[in-house]
Symmetry: C2
Subunit: 183 residues, 2 copies
DNA sequence: CGTGTCATGTAATCAGTTACATGATTCA
DNA sequence: TGAATCATGTAACTGATTACATGACACG
């Protein structure tokens, strides 16, 4: 149970909505889920092949669009079943890995202004993500938008929004603490 | 720059505070930083060996405590320098991986009550972590507690507290949305 | 005709986990 | 004496990233 690849389900999940090529999947992932799943870049091609071998997806070479060697993947009934099985499985918590916090635990070995800078960079990264999130929200509002599907998309948006907000608040608070430390 | 192992710095960071054995490091990590760094369990032994080869740490077999084959590691000046260098480096954002959110993007393929259960489990995991966090806060208040060091420890505690709170809020909100969906 | 994007892939490497193996000490 | 904990390690594997390689098409 614990020995299963999760990225393959991310791919199946995307294919359950629309037939796509490997390239499309990469694009979609970075457009729709950049906050909770890495684009898994060039690893999707081997996974697609493995999925096809297991008969969870089928593929054919696309004829349209200039015959550009595009291989389109389609999810099979077996693939949908596998996806549903995964959805029903218990979800283990993700072990977090925040490099900045790891650095903070060794904070006493660096000058305070250095950490102020680290935190400012962190804050900028958050602000940048928040901007990107607005774009995603627009995608949700316009393109798809049908009942259940929209609700679930909105949920993932909310998750990102709320956690980013919390991180930003922490950042501001910590910056103030650092700036006020000893004068 | 991007091709460096971060866990080794976690280990150096702990050794910068106190000489320790591999076993101690494992214990300490799970006690002091369970929220932002995994215990990296049985991988610390090879890393310790690698660090010793690079002369970033030294070791000796402990004589006390019943001669129990304990190898104690000490950080070297070179090791401290490496640690400080890492602290000064820019910190890239961690790509998040939240399996539950990945499942939500395929939400339309499962019955709503199933996702209610998933979210309830998620909430329980958060509540559990929040309890554990109180213990850590006690550790900070009593054991260590000296100026700068305490401040940085407190910061990592705050980070965990704030992000857990945000996730809990999201969880409650989403549960309500699901329960109210169509009656 | 050259740059950018579309499109697919492989090889090498690194990071991390699981499962296993070994043995000493402590304490009920 | 048997279970729990202390203590160190290895082998095999999985997951993910980096860097590379190839080539077609679109456009200005």
């Amino acid at each position: 149970m614990s020995r299963v690849n999760k990225t393959q389900f991310g791919i199946l999940s995307l294919l359950s909505k629309k037939d796509m090529s490997g390239y499309d999947i990469k694009q979609m992932a970075s457009k729709v889920a950049p906050f909770h799943w890495s684009e898994s870049n060039a690893q999707i091609y081997p996974i697609l092949k493995a999925l096809e071998k297991e008969e969870l997806v089928e593929s054919h070479v696309d004829q349209k669009s200039g015959d550009r060697n595009r291989r389109i993947y389609t999810i099979t009934t077996k693939g949908l079943d596998a996806l549903k099985l995964w959805l029903a499985e218990p979800t283990e918590p993700t072990p977090a890995r925040e490099e900045l916090l790891l650095k903070l635990t060794a904070g006493e070995h660096a000058p305070i202004p250095q950490f102020i800078q680290q935190l400012e960079t962190f804050r900028d990264q958050i602000l940048h993500r928040q901007k990107a999130l607005v774009t995603i929200q627009n995608n949700i509002d316009s393109a798809h938008a049908e009942g259940l599907r929209k609700m679930y998309l909105q949920m993932t948006y909310d998750y990102a929004a709320l956690t980013l907000e919390a991180k930003l608040a922490w950042c501001e608070k910590s910056l103030q603490t650092l700036r006020e430390y000893k004068g």
